[in-house]
């Protein structure tokens, strides 16, 4: 059911993304063990928490980007009504990206690192990532330019991925001054997750919603403009919520605080428009699970990124919660709710089409969805409790770091248990996606 042969390039992007997702969760479980139990010194010497954490976070970034790129390659031919500019570039880019990511992760085990959180990849590997990004953007841009049809969605997608790539460059130099270092670190991290990635999400979701629900293109595009406009309006200056305590001028408290308090607005709009489009659907619901993912993404996005983010970035709250497990709670709910679910939605949209399945059997997928989403929510709550304990004991009552951490160990044992359940959900989902099967038409319904 794919219309253009070059849509198939996304298959390997998706497969690799899913494998890295499983690995990320496994390493995440190891991190919770580090918190929950006392490990022997000999083990800590060879495989410290820091190494495991950089693997966990870099795998996250890698599979997210693979999902975005795969998703873009899948929907772009449909949107441009032509094949990709070059399949070869798409494959070369995938090989470069995957090789750089895998080398980097293996390198971490041997202490080959830049030691800059989330951006630990050493320079030669970074250069390869840049090459892959350039190939990707070039391929996308040329596909759009050579297309006979024009749509705002194409441009939004191109803008999103270019914005994403350009921001990455700000993380690459060595900064002598720590506060300048972290100032630009957030140009990567924040302007990704509350800027470029949101644009990509909005564009891809607009496309998928349009295809799945059959709602009028004009309506979807209007929403897309308003949402991305609001995302960037609140998100760009909203970067300031990371600058409260780094030694930046005082007015950032106000600008960062107010703009980031507005950041949930576009996400609320996203929930509203998803809900409306689903209600006013012109197409019949063929695969309920895909619809579940679409609505689930909108709601989880609002809770994890919107609600948790809102509470945590108010300056008087942030004074106590900054740099604590509260951030971990927010990080997990936001990344999962906004971007892991986005990727899953893309995969559930793309894979059946690639396998020529109109209607897929979804029992396992449903279990996967509910186990993952519920377990991650509980995990977010568990980290949240640990975080509130930490901030209350250590920073409010001022009774010391160790006392707070010791009290939190119980909650990390719980986090490990919940994490195991989450891993089960992930394995079921990934297995389901790898082995999608068609429902024989006529046998049911």
């Amino acid at each position: 059911m794919i219309r253009y042969e070059s849509q198939r390039v996304s298959l390997w992007y998706i497969r690799l993304a899913l494998i890295l997702f499983v690995l990320q969760v496994v390493v995440g479980l190891w991190l919770s063990i580090n918190y929950a139990f006392t490990l022997p010194q000999e083990l800590v010497n060879v495989f410290p928490f820091a190494t495991a954490r950089e693997i966990h976070t870099n795998l996250l970034v890698a599979w997210m980007l693979l999902g975005f790129m795969g998703g873009t390659y899948f929907i772009l031919p449909l949107e441009c009504e032509r094949d990709l500019f070059s399949n070869k570039i798409a494959y070369v880019q995938l090989v470069i990206f995957a090789a750089a990511a895998v080398t980097a992760v293996v390198g971490f085990l041997f202490r080959w690192t830049r030691g800059k959180p989330l951006l630990e990849i050493p320079f030669p590997m970074n250069a390869l990532i840049v090459v892959a990004a350039l190939l990707f953007i070039g391929n996308v841009a040329l596909t759009i330019i050579k297309a006979k049809v024009r749509s705002p969605l194409q441009w939004m997608l191109l803008f999103g991925v270019t914005f994403l790539a350009v921001m990455y460059l700000f993380g690459m130099p060595f900064y002598r001054n720590l506060n300048t270092d972290y100032y630009y670190w957030w140009w990567v991290i924040h302007l990704w997750v509350e800027g470029a990635w949101e644009i990509v999400t909005a564009a891809i979701m607009a496309f998928i919603i349009m295809q799945v629900t059959g709602v009028d293109r004009k309506v979807v595009e209007k929403w897309l403009y308003v949402e991305t406009g609001l995302f960037l309006f609140t998100g760009i200056v909203g970067t300031g919520h990371h600058y409260y305590w780094i030694g930046a001028p005082d007015y950032w408290i106000w600008w960062g605080g107010i703009f980031s308090a507005l950041e949930p607005l576009p996400i609320v709009l996203m929930v509203v428009d998803t809900w409306m489009h689903v209600r006013e659907r012109k197409n019949a619901i063929i695969n309920p699970l895909t619809w579940t993912y679409i609505v689930g993404l909108a709601i989880y996005h609002l809770v994890g990124a919107g609600l948790w983010g809102f509470m945590h970035t108010l300056p008087p709250v942030n004074y106590y919660t900054h740099g604590s497990q509260v951030t971990v709670s927010h990080g997990h709910l936001a990344f999962f709710g906004a971007y892991a679910l986005l990727n899953m939605t893309i995969f559930y949209f793309a894979l059946p089409r690639m396998k020529n399945i109109r209607r897929y059997r979804d029992t396992a997928g449903k279990w996967g969805f509910w186990i993952m989403t519920v377990a991650m929510f509980l995990l977010g709550l568990t980290f949240g409790v640990a975080g509130i304990l930490q901030t209350y004991l250590e920073r409010f009552l001022d009774i010391g770091y160790s006392t707070a951490q010791l009290t939190m160990m119980l909650w990390f044992k719980i986090a490990f248990g919940v994490g195991l359940v989450f891993l089960c959900g992930v394995l079921i989902t990934v297995w389901h996606l790898f082995t999608l099967q068609a429902v024989e038409e006529g046998t049911s319904e």
Partner: protein
Amino acid sequence: MTGKTARWIFLLGTFSSAAIFLWMTYDFHRQTPRLTHTERLSEEVVAGKRVWHKYNCNDCHTILGFGGYYAPDMTKAYYRLGDNNISSIVKHPEVIYRNSFRKMPQLGVTDPEVKQLIAFLRWTGEIENRHWPPQDEKFVTAFKLREARAKNLNKVDVVMGACGGCHSFENQGRSIGGDFADIAQRITYDHNTLVKFILNPQSVKPTIGMPPQNVTPETAALIADFVLSLKTSKEVRQ
């Protein structure tokens, strides 16, 4: 709403926010020298920052609140711990945390690197970051009080400044290497042996876990005097 209005919302929203943000970035760079005391950002501090990155400290410790949440924040670590304690912890974590519920890896940081790291942490502590993190503010205040009367510090300040990372005394310091009141009762060393012990514990007692201390002989002498003075006179030794 027409498609055109929607497009204008997008363009206006994006560019107005980007313009504000870029202006504030410009102002950030203008004010950074004042807020971070760049005149004190020496080559040694920069070298220390490279050490900080080299051993990936930041994926366990937060600094300015960013990074891993597995170990204490390092923004004001200099005020909290001081030169000698930082040096002991970084060089001998397996000794300092042998009874701890959480371990720090032995990273093989060299002596010059430790010095650079301390310079970096000292400079970092001085960043004007609106008194964050809250739990370390008391250490900053105490440090500044001591600094203000550096000429006539009392002995407890000096001793706890150097030894408080492991030893405790009257509700100060940490309980890793024991309380000075107890130690004073236990030991039988004279002044010179104790000085030797502080500078290189293994040379006096080969089985001891305490690492060599990174203090001057004068400070070691002062610490020795202090500890010996805590001996309560049960009886006069012959």
